[in-house]
Amino acid sequence: MPPTAHDPTSSLAIPPPPPVVEPPPLVVAGREPGDGWQLADPQPMGPATRRALQGIIRGLCPRPPAPWSEDLAQRIELGVRVFLRYMPPVMGVGFGPMLLLLDWAPVWRLRGLQPLHRWEREPAAQLLQALSASRLKPVRLMIMAVRAAVLSNYYDQPEVHEAMNYHPMPFLQDRADLRRRLLEGQPAQAEDLIGPYAEVLR
């Protein structure tokens, strides 16, 4: 029976329930939830484009002491290639040539004769940063797109979350359990409040 009485930790009255009340799951979904849906297969990519992508991944992602490993780089590549499937087809197809163009940026920026994937990571990162401030809008947009695709994958990896002290799953499970208790009519307790973590907010 949903609670209708005033919650002792709330300054607000609980409204009447809507016609349909969705209960929380017993276990909040983790990675690759088993809802029958499958993520798209990675977009096929030739060896030159994959080398270019790996070079850009190395340039865009942080170096140790931030989390880094070859396995992580492979997972990011895989994530980007899956992501390409969800883009509009014309963008997905255009992404490969864009990677090759960026790989040869040292040449067309008159910074060297080697492609980016042969550069050390720090100068590669600096060159990519310089391109992001280019006066040419298409160049800036290229960097924006590639950055978003690569970094959204990097910052979604378990070891990166660990290094950031970001642990969403226990928190979500705790909240799902709390909502189930509220739906059963149990009042919220003081320990159910979130924070305050900051001294200035206490």
Partner: protein, 506 residues
């Protein structure tokens, strides 16, 4: 019954009394009304069916599954404005913040005056707003859902002497997971996935998912259904042909995809307004980094709004998102980004929302691509600069160490001194980084065929049997989150359509 790609034959034929293209705030309430009236309803949804039990906080999985084009959609213009809309059962209601504000009364009065229709005025729409309020359990949040980023915004507003109002949100016993944009993992947010869709399904409605509608079927000057192709979830290629024949067809694909679909048939006559009047309620993100833990990812998104500048058409709200999404938006990478991101627990993300002062247009591009175009005005630029400056100042007042600004020529501020002369920093619209989720107004509703695209029943003036039910209908900008307005109009159109079909059957 929910159908997916595997369930379709190579050339699949389906029939229904009403086919509704889209399952979001426009399609689902209307479908529930029709199904509960005893009609055979078939929803068609381009995305997949993802129940509450499947939602997680991982962007690389959720964004592709739940958002159109993996969130890479942009509005063309200066600047380019990225936008996000849902592509899954429940549409954008699955990935929005759940903010539920009724249309402001002054806007409804304007609509009544503009159209001459009392039905679109405050009294005419009141019963529908009340129903939406009940159906989606619109209410302020429980105290247990409050997080530190919410507290900072509220305390900051108080310190600055600004009006801060608690948001009304469509939710029942929300406990502040802050996973709204990746799908609510507790089922508390009243997305249509957990409200109107279950009601419609209980009343017998079916849902054909993973199916992109490509064209309308026109016969004898009437719309008699839709045709589309199923999307293979592994290759994302469109393969199987699916044809749905119906007595009435409702297009509820949102303010970009609805005109995109209708424009290929040369519709929108005689006004020529189809695709025009595009509104997008743009916003600019302000990211503050504090010297202490805030854990903004815990606690509800948008507990409240700073409404002190509503007369200028400007709102502020906090709106934390997962690290993968924050990182993708930053102007730096490699070590400088890591130095920021490893302090994710100390971040507060907010938005400055600016009410439209102009309109854009949605065009039909090649390769089945919709092209929304929108150009912000000098007045908008001024409001963004002053809004961002105010919000950043508030964060410094609250003790922030650093604020990331949405300006290409000055991304970082470390004190209020860095907020000086911002109007000189933004020399060109391209110097602004904007974003939006509120797309509206491309098939405006009205009483005169020469001024509007659809009549007061939502039916196209130039195509009997074809109806629109989504944010495209708005005659003007509303300046608040549009979900409630869309749902109210959808209930109204659904009721009228049910009456029409019943009288036709009789």
């Amino acid at each position: 019954m929910i159908l997916a790609h595997n369930d379709y034959q190579l050339d699949q034929q389906l029939d229904a009394d009403v086919v509704i293209v889209g399952t979001g705030a426009g399609g689902a309430p209307l479908g529930a009304v029709l199904a509960e009236a005893g009609l055979d309803v078939l929803f068609v949804e381009e995305g997949g069916y993802h129940p509450t039990t499947s939602f997680n906080p991982y962007g690389t999985e959720s964004i592709g599954r739940l958002m159109r084009d993996g969130g890479t959609t942009t509005i063309q213009g200066r600047p380019l404005i990225p936008y996000v809309e849902g592509r899954c059962v429940g549409g954008s209601t699955v990935v929005n913040g759940g903010m539920s504000w009724r249309t402001p009364e002054r806007i409804l009065q304007e609509w009544q005056q503009l159209t001459g229709a009392p039905e679109l005025g405050p009294a005419g729409l009141e019963p529908y707003f009340s129903r939406v309020q009940h159906d989606t359990a619109m209410a302020a949040q429980l105290e247990v859902s409050l997080g530190d980023d919410n507290r900072i915004m509220e305390a900051g507003a108080r310190k600055m002497g600004w009006l801060h109002e608690k948001n009304t949100r469509g939710q029942y016993l929300c406990v502040g997971c802050n996973n709204c944009v990746m799908g609510c993992p507790t089922g508390a947010k009243s997305s249509t996935l957990v409200t109107y869709i279950p009601r419609a399904r209980c009343a017998g409605a079916r849902c054909a998912t993973e199916l992109r509608v490509e064209r309308l079927i026109l016969e004898g000057g009437r719309c008699v259904g839709v045709q589309g192709r199923a999307i293979n979830p592994r290759t994302r290629q469109r393969d199987k042909l699916v044809t749905v024949r119906s007595k009435a067809t409702v297009i509820a694909c949102g303010a970009v995809q609805t005109p995109h679909l209708l424009l290929q048939h040369g519709l929108g006559r005689p006004s020529g307004q189809l695709g025009r009047n595009f509104l997008c309620h743009p916003n600019a993100k302000v990211l503050a980094i504090y010297p202490f833990d805030v854990k903004g990812w815990q606690g509800v998104s948008q507990w409240g709004q700073v409404r002190a500048f509503r007369d200028e058409g400007v709102l502020f709200a906090e709106n934390m998102i997962p690290p993968s999404a924050i990182a993708a938006l930053q102007p730096v990478h490699a070590q400088p980004l890591w130095e920021m991101m490893h302090r994710y627990n100390q971040m507060v993300l907010g938005g400055v929302l600016v009410e439209d002062s102009t309109t854009g247009r949605v065009l039909r591009g090649p390769l089945d691509m919709a092209i929304p175009r929108y150009q912000i005005t000098p007045y908008d630029i001024h409001r963004f600069i002053s809004g961002v400056e105010r919000m950043a100042r508030m964060h410094f007042e609250m003790g922030a160490e650093r604020v990331v600004l949405p300006f290409a020529r000055r991304h970082f501020a470390t004190s209020v001194d860095d907020l000086a002369n911002l109007d000189q920093v933004v020399r060109h619209p391209d110097d602004l980084d904007l974003f939006t989720v509120h797309l509206m107004g491309t098939a405006r509703m009205g009483t005169k065929p020469r001024e509007s695209v659809v009549d007061l029943n939502g039916q196209l003036w130039d195509l009997p049997g074809c109806y629109v039910s989504d944010a495209s209908l708005f005659p003007t900008a509303i300046g608040v989150n549009p979900q409630v307005t869309i749902m109210a109009l959808a209930l109204r159109i659904g009721e009228r359509l049910a009456d029409q079909l019943a009288s036709r059957a009789a």
